[in-house]
Homo-oligomer: 144 residues x 2
DNA sequence: TTGATTATGATAGTGATTATCAAATTCAAA
DNA sequence: TTTGAATTTGATAATCACTATCATAATCAA
């Protein structure tokens, strides 16, 4: 079975928190990991039900929260108010280019931009802790 | 009465859309303009009710939508999922520094960052249409 | 095997926002 | 000024994403 690394991380996290193991959480974790897309809770629920039709949406939400706490996933709040979950383990900090036509995401990073943000914050007397940068546009494919 | 400019803009917008005038919308507009803060719909509703207690929350939402369409206001979606409305007329494009302690906003702009975003998008084959940058940190006051 | 604890699924509840609708208001035309 | 068609309003029902509740099931250390 793939994703040994991630499963190990999740296992340790569950153990440290004094939680118990469950087949449902493993199903959800593996479905999440195998899908390299930014899914909504509902989309993930639909996918997981193919493997285990009995899983309820509440368990999906509960597990997504654990995935975020354990560092395997991260919430992504889009400009339209929707929330998607992205892979976080093995993905350094990055920003997003979102295509307004097809909805696809591209992860990007520009260290110069990061530095300038630090400088800008310092100039205003802020101690920066983090940031979210979403860029919207039309991707290569959609421009035809 | 102040805010003649903004009122004129709103008037033209209402007229062009074939809508009618109403005292409630004026109350909401003026309360919004006089408060130089990033308000939620609910907070604005509370303020407007001091002037006109009968105004319903639905009318506040409806009017906020018109304010955004007319260019007087703009929605700001925060990292925690909440939505606030900011003044847009006379405020050029800007990004935000948000204090994670007191919640205050500072509007900032760095033309270098803007240029680098363009360059970054172009490198990925994107035609950039816009972006949202939220920076989180601790402000001068809160570091005390 | 047991039993204390946690997890689950169904579902009720929540909070923010939108839709519906009857009554009130606006405003151009008579 | 009156009229009447169109729009606006406030109350409230509905919706949507998410969380809380709770009885039952599953886990796991002793």
């Amino acid at each position: 079975m793939a994703f040994e690394e991630e499963q190990k991380i999740f296992d340790s996290f569950v153990r440290e928190k004094g939680l118990k193991h469950s087949a449902q959480r493993i199903d959800i974790l593996l479905t999440f990991l195998k899908t390299e897309k930014h899914l909504t809770a509902d989309e993930l629920h639909t996918l997981v039900k193919k493997k285990n039709p009995a899983i309820g949406i509440a368990t999906v939400y509960r597990t997504l929260k654990l995935l975020c706490e354990s560092g395997l996933s991260s919430e992504l709040r889009l400009g339209d108010g929707s929330v998607r979950y992205e892979h976080f383990y093995g993905h350094e900090h990055h920003d997003h280019l979102v295509c307004i036509k097809c909805g696809n995401f591209t992860e990007v990073l520009d260290t110069e931009i990061e530095k300038l943000q630090e400088r800008l914050a310092r100039k205003e007397g802020f101690t920066l802790q983090g940031h979210k940068l979403l860029m919207y546009g039309v991707c290569k494919k959609c421009k035809g």
